[in-house]
Every structure is written in structure tokens, then in C-alpha cells.
């Protein structure tokens, strides 16, 4: 199968970073929930890739840059079930706090069960506002561009599409066994020279940042570290 490989090649040593782009192909699982108890039950068994999608994959779906909520479960609690308390509790569930999707799944179930315990009635959504579980497959494109060395990062990063940032910064964390983004992994190969930049990139709050904000932050950090006098 020419041109088709099963996994991204890991960047090694001080080789150029190959810039990739990606698109998500959305798949409906056919599984839905109309009330909070159904949501809890479906969450028990839904494929892990669906939980991933509703936290991360949604970032490449048509939407505006400043979503009210950072995951689909919280958004549905607010707009489907009209339960603001639950929406707020689900909204603060940060997937980066959990090392596995299974741990994240258990946290979601815990939050929902607590709310069910508190509620006299099980919150319901209208038939046309059900929660639809989705998942996705990812198609990765070769942009033919390379980042030859860290010093060109401030120039290159602003030109990367948001889906490219998604691939290197968000998707990378589930690809790499170490769970780190491609930029950090690449800088790591340069040893201590870029260690502080690498650490700062690794500490970007990617869950509570929009895709444009992540790109902006990356540009700022790289400029600040590599060309401190130009940083404003």
C-alpha cells in the first residue's frame, strides 16, 4: 500500500520536524442518550475513542473559537438537560489530569452519579436534543514542509493550520508512548539547550485553551526563548 503507513514516524535526534496536517472523519456510533441516567449507562460501555472525541476531536468540528464549554458532555448538560450545576461540574473535568481514557470515563460517571443522587427527578432532554455519541478516524497529510531547527519555530508556527497544531500538539499525546507533544519530543533530542523551552511548551494548558490560543502561545514562547529582544 504505497503512501500508507499505520503510524507516524517518531522524530528522532536533531532531524528536521516533518510538518503534518490532519482531518478527522466523523463517525456516528448510533448510540444516544435522552436523559442523565441513559448518559451514565452509555458512558459505562461506550468505545474509548468516543470519549476522546467528545473532549478533543470536537475541536476540529465546525464551531466558534470561544466555546461556552470545553467538552460535549458539559454542553449537553446545559443545553440539552438545562442542568447548569451539572454542566459546571462536567466542564471542570480536565482530561489532562487523567492518565488514561478509562480513568476519565470513571470520573465522568462519578460526577453524573453524584448529580443523580442529588436530583429528585432524572433530568431529560427533548427528543430533538439528545446526546449523540460520535467518534472519529484521523487522516494525516504530509505538508512537505520541514522545521529544520528550533530557531525557525517563531517563523514557522504562525503558518501552521489549526489542524496541524491539533496533530502535533493534541493528537501527539496519544500517539507517543511518553504522552508528550511532537514539539517537546523534538526539542528533547537537542538535550539541555532547549530544555526550558521544552518544559514551558509542555506546560501549556491545552484543555482550557482554544486552538488559535495554543498556536499563539507556542509562537510567544518560542519567540520569547529564542529571540528574547524581539518579544513584546
Amino acid at each position: 500500500m504505497r503512501g500508507l503507513v499505520s503510524r507516524a514516524k517518531k522524530t528522532q535526534g536533531s532531524l528536521p520536524l516533518l510538518v503534518k496536517d490532519c482531518a478527522l472523519i466523523t463517525i456516528a456510533t448510533g448510540i444516544r442518550a435522552q436523559n442523565l441516567r441513559e448518559l451514565r449507562d452509555r458512558l459505562e460501555t461506550i468505545h474509548p475513542s468516543s470519549i476522546y472525541y467528545h473532549f478533543w476531536g470536537r475541536r476540529l468540528a465546525p464551531s466558534f473559537d470561544q466555546p461556552e464549554f470545553n467538552n460535549d458532555f458539559a454542553a449537553w448538560a446545559r443545553h440539552g438537560l438545562h442542568d447548569s450545576v451539572l454542566a459546571e461540574r462536567l466542564a471542570v473535568v480536565d482530561p489532562t489530569d487523567f492518565s488514561t481514557i478509562e480513568a476519565l470515563r470513571q470520573e465522568l460517571i462519578e460526577v453524573i452519579e453524584e448529580r443523580l443522587y442529588e436530583s429528585a427527578l432524572v433530568p431529560w432532554a427533548r427528543t430533538d436534543h439528545q446526546f449523540y455519541f460520535k467518534r472519529s478516524k484521523i487522516v494525516v497529510f504530509d505538508t512537505k514542509h520541514h522545521i529544520t531547527e528550533p530557531m525557525v519555530l517563531p517563523q514557522m508556527l504562525p503558518t501552521l493550520s489549526l489542524s496541524s497544531i491539533f496533530y502535533h500538539f493534541i493528537d501527539a499525546r496519544r500517539r507517543a508512548p511518553e504522552g508528550i507533544d511532537d514539539f517537546s519530543a523534538w526539542l528533547d533530542a537537542y538535550g539541555e539547550k532547549y530544555a526550558s523551552l521544552r518544559d514551558e511548551i509542555g506546560s501549556i494548558d491545552l484543555y482550557f485553551s482554544t486552538m488559535p490560543e495554543i498556536r499563539e502561545r507556542l509562537v510567544h514562547l518560542c519567540t520569547h526563548h529564542l529571540f528574547p529582544r524581539q518579544d513584546v
Partner: protein, 412 residues
């Protein structure tokens, strides 16, 4: 035929490169799209554009149309309405016509369809062809363009039997997806920004079209472009207009649309609309011919606000068209309109003629908001609903099916 390279100016060079990378994996594959009308309606309009673009990418692609008589289309129109939620039971005699018509078409198309690597069957009209081609060797995909969120169960059960064994199906929105024993892809439709209907045209041409129809560009204009179909709620639009006109006496309404050869109800609904509009000199009902794309383009560009007050809607391409022209859209809170009209950002979602009237008044008295929403709408359409994204999704899902991709594919 527009050269694929021209889309780079609108969508970006990288998008075209993505298409080429995907297409490289499908070189030598034979792809056939099948639907039930050559012109009129969103499906034919999309295929008119997608098929040549797939050919330009080196994929051997053809488009076949099934033929049927008046009873066949009566049956499929009832089926369409029932799948969109109307409790219609289709007489057995009409279902027999449906199956016989497909059998006749299978005689004509069988050899081609059985030899194809990928077959896209659009909507329920040609769905039985799958079982009528026992020697097929490729992957068959059912592409559903309609809102079947709440189908009338007996009719869905009947149609589902023809679909369940396909390799995959595609719906425009996740909400429409019905449980089926195969992969269900979600692919919103799109518009072609370089087509006659969506390309840039100059103001003089817009003025000339408005003059031709006796419309005054100096007075506010609201517009709904759609087939004359009850699900598009043209009578509700007239009601909204009447409510808003009490406060904006200079307001004009244009209801314009054409028919499609697979929609026998169009004439009846058009008649009802003409009766409702008869006493209002500022309501303009325009029955447009199928080739009126440039006229529609001009009408959309000249309007202040575009409405798509549908009660049920598969997707509503006219919404994207209006957004692409920088117009805020007041749309029915249903189906694919929800994906495009982001409430208070690219327009407003409404649930009644009263709601539509309120938003018309609001936008016409807050011109700055109207302009800002229009600009936002155009960018949203550019990012999400252009034909290049649609084509990418089709190519990607073909690659996924042909190569049995589980989670990810990496192209070069």
C-alpha cells in the same frame, strides 16, 4: 468545468494538496454515484460539481440517474415525507411500483454497478439496486441527504431492509443517523464557491435582476430561496413578513424557488403560496427555472436578510449560499440549519413565524449587528462548508473503506 487548481484561491493550496494525497490512493478505482434526478434540488447540484472534480483528481467517476414514472416519484416523495416524520402509509401498489422501477433500472445499470469499486447510492429512491446487483464486487455506500431523525417507523423499517447490508452509510448530521449494522459517517454537504450560484458578481448585475422582478433595492428585502415544499414553510415566512411589516412598512419579501423532477407536490404548494400572497404587492413569488443559478446568486446578494424557515431540513444548502454572500440567516431550529446558523453568531434560529418576525425587526434596526453577523457567516462557511471539504471527506471515507483503516491513516 472549473479547474481544481482554481479552488486554491478560495480554500488554500494546502487543501488541494490534501485532495491529491487522498486521490493518489484511489487511482484506478471505478466510482459511480446514483440518484434519481439530473437537475433540481441539492443532490443533483452537489453531484454536478463533485463528479467532475473527482475525475480531475484521476478517479474514474461516473454519475447515473435512475428513471421512473409519475407513480414512482409519487411513491418516493411520500417515502421522503414519511422519513422526515410525516405519518404517511404508502399503499402496497405504490411500493410495488418502487421495487419494479428499481428492477427495470437494475437491468440497465447492473453491468456498470457490479463492476464498480465504490458505488454511492443517494437517498432512498435507488436504494433497492444493492440487492438487485448480486455480482457486485465493490463497496456500496448509502448517502442519506434527508432528515430522518424521527422517521415514520413502518416506512423506515421498509427502507432499512434495502440499506442494512451496505458497507457504510453517510448522514449530513449525527442526529439523523439511525442504528445500522455498519459504519455511519457524518458528512455535511457543501456549496461550490466558484459556481454560477456562488461566484462573485458585480453590483450592476444584482441591480438588473432586482429591476427585472420589480423589486426596489433601496427598500429592505428579506428572501427565502427554496423549493415550494411544505417542510420549507413558505406560508410561515409570509406570516412572519406580515408581522414584521407592521413595524417596517417598506419591507419586501421574495419567495423564490424552482421545482425538481422528483417532486410532484411542488406545483400544489406553489399554488397555495400564490393564494396567500395574492393581496400583498410587496410579496414577490418567483417560480424560477432550473438554470436560474445566476439569478439566485443576484437575489441572495441583494437581500438584507435571508430566511430558511424550514420545519424539517436535511441540511439546507441555501443557508450556506447566503452565508457565503455575507448574509445573516434566520433559520428554522431544525436539522442541518442548526449546524450552520450558530444562534446569535451567524444568524438566528427560530421556532415560529413570530420568532422570525422578531429577528427580522431586530436585524433591520441594528444594521451594525447585521453586517457583523454577515461577515462571521461568510468566514464560517469558508472554513466548514465549501465543496473542497466535502470532497476531502468523501475521498477519506473511500480510503477508509477500501483499505479497511481502523483508526488512522498517514498519507504522503
Amino acid at each position: 468545468m472549473i479547474d481544481l487548481a482554481h479552488y486554491a484561491d478560495v480554500a488554500g493550496l494546502d487543501v488541494i494538496e490534501h485532495l491529491r494525497q487522498l486521490a493518489a490512493l484511489l487511482k484506478g478505482k471505478r466510482v459511480i454515484h446514483v440518484n434519481s434526478t439530473q437537475e433540481g434540488g441539492g443532490v443533483a447540484e452537489i453531484l454536478e460539481k463533485l463528479v467532475p472534480l473527482m475525475q480531475q483528481l484521476g478517479i474514474d467517476t461516473a454519475w447515473e440517474v435512475i428513471h421512473g414514472n409519475e407513480n414512482f416519484f409519487m411513491c418516493t416523495k411520500s417515502m421522503h415525507n414519511a422519513l422526515q416524520g410525516n405519518a404517511i402509509d404508502i399503499p402496497k401498489a405504490l411500493l410495488n411500483v418502487y421495487e419494479e422501477t428499481n428492477a427495470h433500472n437494475a437491468e440497465r445499470l447492473r453491468e456498470k454497478l457490479e463492476a464498480a469499486d465504490i458505488v454511492f447510492i443517494h437517498d432512498p429512491q435507488p436504494a433497492p439496486l444493492f440487492n438487485l446487483c448480486p455480482g457486485k464486487r465493490g463497496k456500496w455506500i448509502w448517502r442519506c441527504h434527508i432528515d430522518i431523525r424521527h422517521p415514520h417507523r413502518p416506512v423506515w423499517k421498509y427502507v432499512r431492509n434495502f440499506i442494512k447490508d451496505y458497507a457504510a452509510s453517510i448522514f449530513s448530521l449525527v442526529d439523523f443517523a439511525q442504528p445500522l449494522p455498519h459504519d455511519i459517517f457524518v458528512v455535511p454537504p457543501s456549496i461550490d464557491p466558484l459556481s454560477e450560484k456562488n461566484m462573485d458578481i458585480d453590483e450592476n448585475e444584482v441591480a438588473s435582476v432586482y429591476k427585472e422582478f420589480g423589486l426596489d433595492l433601496k427598500r429592505p428585502i428579506i428572501l427565502q430561496i427554496s423549493r415550494f415544499d411544505r417542510f420549507k414553510d413558505p406560508l410561515g415566512v409570509i406570516q412572519a413578513f406580515q408581522l414584521a411589516k407592521k413595524y417596517i412598512p417598506s419591507l419586501q419579501l421574495v419567495l423564490a424557488g424552482g421545482g425538481a423532477s422528483d417532486d410532484p407536490e411542488g406545483e400544489i404548494v406553489l399554488g397555495e403560496v400564490r393564494v396567500a400572497a395574492a393581496d400583498h404587492s410587496d410579496i414577490h413569488v418567483l417560480a424560477l427555472p432550473p438554470n436560474a443559478d445566476r439569478t439566485i446568486n443576484a437575489l441572495q446578494r441583494g437581500a438584507d436578510i435571508v430566511l430558511q424557515k424550514s420545519l424539517r431540513e436535511g441540511f439546507g444548502l441555501t443557508v450556506t449560499e447566503a452565508m457565503w454572500k455575507g448574509k445573516p440567516v434566520i433559520g428554522g431550529d431544525t436539522g442541518g440549519i442548526r449546524l450552520q446558523v450558530i444562534d446569535h453568531h451567524t444568524g438566528f434560529l427560530v421556532n415560529s413565524p413570530e420568532g422570525a418576525a422578531l429577528r427580522i425587526r431586530y436585524l433591520l434596526s441594528h444594521r451594525d449587528r447585521l453586517e457583523a453577523m454577515g461577515e462571521k457567516a461568510r468566514e464560517f462557511a469558508r472554513d466548514n462548508f465549501l465543496i473542497t471539504r466535502h470532497l476531502r471527506d468523501y475521498l477519506a471515507l473511500m480510503v477508509v473503506l477500501v483499505y479497511n483503516v481502523e483508526e488512522r491513516i498517514e498519507l504522503s
